[in-house]
């Protein structure tokens, strides 16, 4: 089965549309959404409706910190993110808010764990930005493969039996075998707000028969997404981020 993995969409309709289109053309059978559907972008409602349709068809979705923040103003965020969440909160209808509220923070499927941030304490939203944080997450689960987002920069970690952790910057479109002897932690890049200097949307494909993970970059209409952010009165820096890719 070919699984599409999508993280940190952040209300970016243009980016999600491009990635889903790419996934459909690639023959994806199952769709996994790893949180942060809203916040920052101008199309939160459309994104929620879209992912819920895909989940109903064949998929699973978990909550990210921005999704939780819609119902929990006490979630601590930076001022720009809080401004975006306040803007978003006012634009979601009751059903959309209920959908976010009902999302689990982690889902295990066999030997795979889907979580937005670290598996160590999912609701603490720890960023996995290096081997130490990766090791904390890997030790917190017995699953051989963990898929998460939150960082907005693609990375792949693997733990050896001896407890050391390897860190790897994935190369787009290169199939990576997730060998069975190692424990793997894949930090997906962001669909809707990449921060690795490459403005192209990022998502990944998992061939779960052959255990091959492929990170992908998809070009999308950044100009439209950025223009909509500015037109909506959201912080202009959020539009500029899309254009810069960081």
């Amino acid at each position: 089965m070919l699984v599409g993995l999508f993280a940190d969409i952040h209300a970016n309709r243009e980016a999600l549309s491009a990635c889903l289109g790419h996934a459909e053309r690639s023959g994806v059978d199952r769709f996994v959404f790893l949180g942060d559907y809203v916040g920052y972008g101008a199309d939160p409602g459309w994104v929620i409706e879209t992912i819920s349709a895909y989940v109903e068809r064949a998929g699973v979705a978990i909550a990210g910190n921005h999704d939780v923040a819609i119902e929990s103003p006490e979630e601590r965020m930076n001022p720009t993110a809080e401004e975006a969440i306040a803007w978003t909160r006012a634009r979601l209808d009751a059903a959309q808010r209920a959908y976010l509220r009902a999302l689990p923070v982690a889902v295990e499927e066999g030997d795979r764990l889907f979580v937005h941030a670290s598996a160590a304490r999912p609701r603490d939203w720890e960023y996995i930005t290096g081997p130490r944080a990766a090791l904390r997450s890997l030790r917190a689960t017995t699953c051989r493969q963990t898929f998460c987002g939150h960082v907005h920069v693609p990375a792949l970690y693997h733990a050896t039996a001896a407890g050391s952790v390897g860190e790897f910057v994935p190369v787009a479109e290169s199939e990576i075998p997730l060998l069975p002897r190692q424990q793997w932690l894949a930090v997906l890049g962001s669909v809707g707000q990449p921060r690795d200097g490459n403005p192209a949307a990022c998502y990944a494909l998992l061939d779960d028969t052959r255990n091959l993970l492929t990170y992908l970059r998809v070009l999308y209409d950044v100009d439209t997404a950025a223009r909509k952010i500015r037109a909506a009165g959201l912080p202009p820096v959020l539009a500029a981020r899309l254009e810069r890719g960081y």
Binding site: P154, L156, H158, T160, A162, S164, V165, G166, F168, V169, P170, V171, A172, S174, I176, P177, L179, Q182, G189, D196, N198, A200, Y215, R217, L219
Partner: protein, 208 residues
């Protein structure tokens, strides 16, 4: 008698006639020679033993003079004769063949270039990991320590310290996990110096 240091074709040294110069270099010259009593081709090595010359030339001449007469069999050139310090030379069988170096170096380099173009650095290049097809094409084998620039580096995490084969390990492998070739220079010595003195840096990044 001609000077052994500046011999000319046709000269006779130790009873051997110099027929053709095969090679000349800073350490001496090699001549195809003819002489009595040999039914095989012969070569004379005439070292430069002038005062101030490289002492290694002198010692090398002494060592060959000692050892070659004691060796026999198909895997060494047959010893014929040797001179002395006044008239230094060694005559042996002339091997009609080619140098391994000249035959294989280019092909090994081509093989390494080819796998590196496929994003792989072998990291354990040594004679036992280089095979030669019947048609002469070089084949690199044993990729167990290799690194692919688009795949996680498993050995680097599994093992502490340098990984490789002692006699063949590269400086960057010895100093760090030299999976990358971050240094380039217009001359090999400069490149080697940079490899030794500087730390490798990660040169790959996600590409769209």
């Amino acid at each position: 008698m001609p000077s052994p240091h500046q011999p000319e074709a046709g000269a006779v040294i130790g009873g051997f006639r110099l027929a053709e110069m095969l090679h000349v270099g800073g350490l001496g010259s090699l001549w195809r020679v003819t002489g009595p009593g040999a039914d095989f081709l012969m070569v004379m090595k005439i070292p430069l033993l002038r005062p101030g010359e490289n002492p290694l030339t002198i010692v090398g001449y002494e060592v060959e003079q000692m050892i070659l007469p004691r060796l026999s069999g198909p895997h060494v050139p047959r010893f014929v004769a040797a001179g002395d310090f006044a008239l230094p030379y060694i005559v042996t069988e002339l091997i009609k063949g080619c140098w391994l170096k000249s035959r294989l170096n280019d092909r090994i380099a081509a093989a390494l270039h080819d796998i590196q173009a496929q994003h792989v650095i072998h990291l354990d290049v040594k004679p036992s990991n280089i095979m030669v097809r019947d048609d002469g094409e070089v084949v690199l084998i044993d990729f167990g320590l290799s690194h692919h620039l688009e795949l996680p580096d498993l050995p680097a995490e599994e093992f502490d310290g340098p990984i490789g084969t002692g006699a063949y390990i590269s400086p960057e492998q010895l100093l760090a996990r030299g999976a990358l070739l971050p240094f380039d220079a217009d001359q090999r010595p400069k490149c080697a110096k940079r490899n030794i003195e500087r730390s490798p840096s990660q040169s790959y990044a996600i590409a769209s």
